[in-house]
Amino acid sequence: MRRELTLTSEPIDEAAWLAQRPMPAGMGAVVCFLGVVRDTEAGAAIRALEYEAFRKMAEHQFHRLFDEMEKRWPIASVRVVHRLGVVNVSEPSLWVEIVAPHRGEAFAACQWLIDEMKRVVPIWKRPVFQRAGARPRRSRRSA
């Protein structure tokens, strides 16, 4: 299984990623997921989310998940891009692409990967509020 993980402070260029899509023989399904920053957090209007990662551990945990995916489903390729730093409202913070023989395993693997990411990959987010002086419920600081 081909795997590619990118943790980046740069905007996610979907077109560029799609142009590089691997499509080995026998593959019939591609599932792409885009996670986008919503305009509210805990009921308050925000202008962005600021993402922070324990990068070394995040990379390790993602690759553990990729290992497990490979055991569970006949996937040809998984590519993940996760933004770090400030991501404005309506911008994507996460892009996931799964290439598999059939849609069933592609959808299942994509759902599973994102669920597990939210459980074990050490990435955190902090709301950046629109109103000057507004504070999140719990203040955080980037490492």
Binding site: E52, M57, V121, R138
Partner: protein
């Protein structure tokens, strides 16, 4: 033995630092270190049930036996995506 302890996300605000070190007796477990840390930084105590503990780049249970030079991390639930 000595181990390093790193804090991530808002745990840095609660402790006022990103990293510290602790001297522990040989054979100490991760929970022994956690108790020591909470003693030094009591603002972490109410968050015990949700606190995640890692040694190096892997999560470890509270009964994990620490070794000299281990790099321990404490952080709140993760929120990627």
């Amino acid at each position: 033995m000595r181990v390093s302890v790193s804090f991530f996300s808002y745990f840095q605000d609660l402790t006022g630092c990103a990293q510290t070190t602790e001297a522990l007796a040989e054979g100490s477990r991760l929970d022994d270190l956690y108790r020591r840390i909470v003693g030094r930084f009591p603002k972490l105590a109410p968050l015990e049930k949700s606190t995640l503990l890692a040694v190096g780049v892997d999560y470890q249970p509270r009964d994990y036996v620490l070794r000299d030079g281990d790099e321990v991390s404490l952080f709140p639930p993760v929120q990627g995506g």
